[in-house]
């Protein structure tokens, strides 16, 4: 066969031979397997992935019967940021009724729990309108975003200032103090939303500030599960690997730094999350066959051990989707098909 048209991780096109695509798939899966300590893709899975790239159709899709549900992050800003002036509630009605979205997510444009806390009273009327005018399950979503608790933006000493000075203990204490603030804010906002009637809380981009960020999400989830047994809680990650910015933090005896998705999902379930979203970083200079094989390997290991639904975070720059604002549909649909069919995902 002739050349296979695919792309790099930054979205730019590249033509590769079938042997080159196969070689990239094998390198990608081996890279993930060696990092996470999991099995690489089997030969039949590699062949299936190769077939997805060999398909000359512009758009591909999952086999009939393998459809999965969709959850979202930052959903009510998606239409607005295309410079379409539409109210948040209306934009979610468009998602539900025109686009067939399975779930809806209300969010504040400053998508972190800290800035949501002082304006939560102004979020509740919109939530009420949304719940009265839609049918699909409604989330309220935001990020722990621990960086907002460091000076000059927040109350805690800044670890990024302390670490270069060799003040390791002080930096670790600053992270620990920030965790307390973040847990308080997440629980405050989520409680207000539950009392307002929301179906679920999305704790998104978890671990963006490292292990302390992940700890804040786990502790908040644990508190919310105890407080509201019926509340749905989705925990979506920021990257494939929990960075050890603190290094010594533990939750229920488990050190958090260095955990990969197959362990992250176990802790998320233990804390009380009902949906988990692994996020696998993209390497922009490598091909999509390499990136997708790598991401599928991480996500398959996660899905294989998961006791709760797994919704891989297929978005701009994660899980094999090119790092670009306008994602090419050929790339998006191939990453989607590969993840759903090989990983046996529950959603995206």
């Amino acid at each position: 066969m002739g050349k296979i048209l695919t792309r790099y991780g930054d979205g730019f096109k590249v033509e590769l031979s079938e042997d080159e695509v196969r070689e990239d798939i094998i390198e990608g899966t081996n890279d993930a397997a060696s990092r996470a300590g999991v099995d690489p893709l089997k030969e039949d899975e590699i062949e299936h992935l190769l077939d997805i790239f060999k398909n000359p159709d512009k758009v591909v899709s999952v086999e009939d019967g393998k459809e999965v549900v969709m959850t979202y992050d930052g959903m009510s800003s998606k239409i607005r940021r295309a410079h379409i002036t539409i109210d948040r509630v209306q934009s979610l009605q468009v998602f539900e009724r025109a686009m067939g979205a399975d779930t809806l997510e209300l969010q504040h444009i400053d998508y972190s729990y800290k800035p949501c806390k002082p304006i939560v009273g102004f979020e509740l009327p919109d939530l009420d309108l949304l719940l009265n005018s839609t049918v699909a399950p409604v989330f309220y979503g935001a990020m722990p975003n621990l960086g907002l608790y460091s000076q000059p933006d927040g109350p805690c000493p800044n670890p990024a200032d302390l670490l270069p000075l060799g003040k390791i203990d002080e930096a670790q204490k600053a992270y620990e103090e920030a965790v307390e603030h973040a847990v308080s804010d997440i629980v405050f906002v989520a409680s207000a939303m539950y009392e307002g009637g929301v179906d679920g809380i999305n704790i998104d981009t978890v671990g963006a500030a490292g292990d302390a960020d992940f700890l804040a999400a786990l502790r908040a989830t644990e508190i919310l599960r105890e407080k509201y047994p019926d509340l749905g809680i989705e925990m979506g990650m920021a990257g494939e690997f929990v960075l050890g910015m603190h290094g010594g933090l533990e939750w229920h005896g488990q050190r958090l730094a260095g955990l990969y998705p197959q362990d992250q999902v176990r802790l998320a379930k233990e804390a009380g999350a009902t949906i988990f979203g692994p996020a696998i970083n993209i390497v922009t200079t490598n091909s999509l066959p390499w990136n997708i094989a790598r991401s599928v390997t991480f996500c398959k290991a996660c899905s294989d051990v998961a006791e709760i639904p797994v919704h891989a975070n297929l978005g701009m720059g994660v899980c094999g989707i090119p790092l670009t604002l306008t994602v090419p549909v050929d790339a998006l649909s191939r990453a989607t098909k590969a993840h759903v069919e090989i990983c046996r995902l529950d959603g995206l």
């Binding site: 839609t134 049918v135 399950p137 019926d230 949906i275």
Partner: protein
């Protein structure tokens, strides 16, 4: 999965609020609807069924059951507590 055009919202509820994985959630929804799993993604089958069950159908016509009323019916259908429905019943003294 198609959301309210099919049974995507119903499967999503079982995942979100019961932590059920996709295959189990689809099976549960299909059993409650009384149809094969292969039909829950079909907008033709589900459109008519959603109208019959009063759980909201995308339609030009008037009279489709929407919002809290549709979710009340979904709650009974799936044997699942829906937060905003519970609050509606409590606030109206209908609980």
């Amino acid at each position: 999965m198609g959301g309210v055009r099919t049974a995507g919202d119903l499967v999503a509820r079982m995942q979100l609020n019961r932590g059920m994985r996709n295959d189990a959630a689809k099976q549960h929804v299909a059993e409650k609807l009384g149809i094969p799993v292969s039909d829950i993604n079909d907008p033709i089958v589900m459109g008519e069924l959603r109208e019959d069950l009063k759980i909201f159908r995308i339609s030009e016509g008037q009279g489709t059951v929407d919002g809290i009323a549709a979710k009340y019916n979904i709650s009974k259908l799936l044997d699942l507590k829906i937060n905003c429905v519970e609050r509606f019943l409590k606030n109206t003294g209908m609980a």
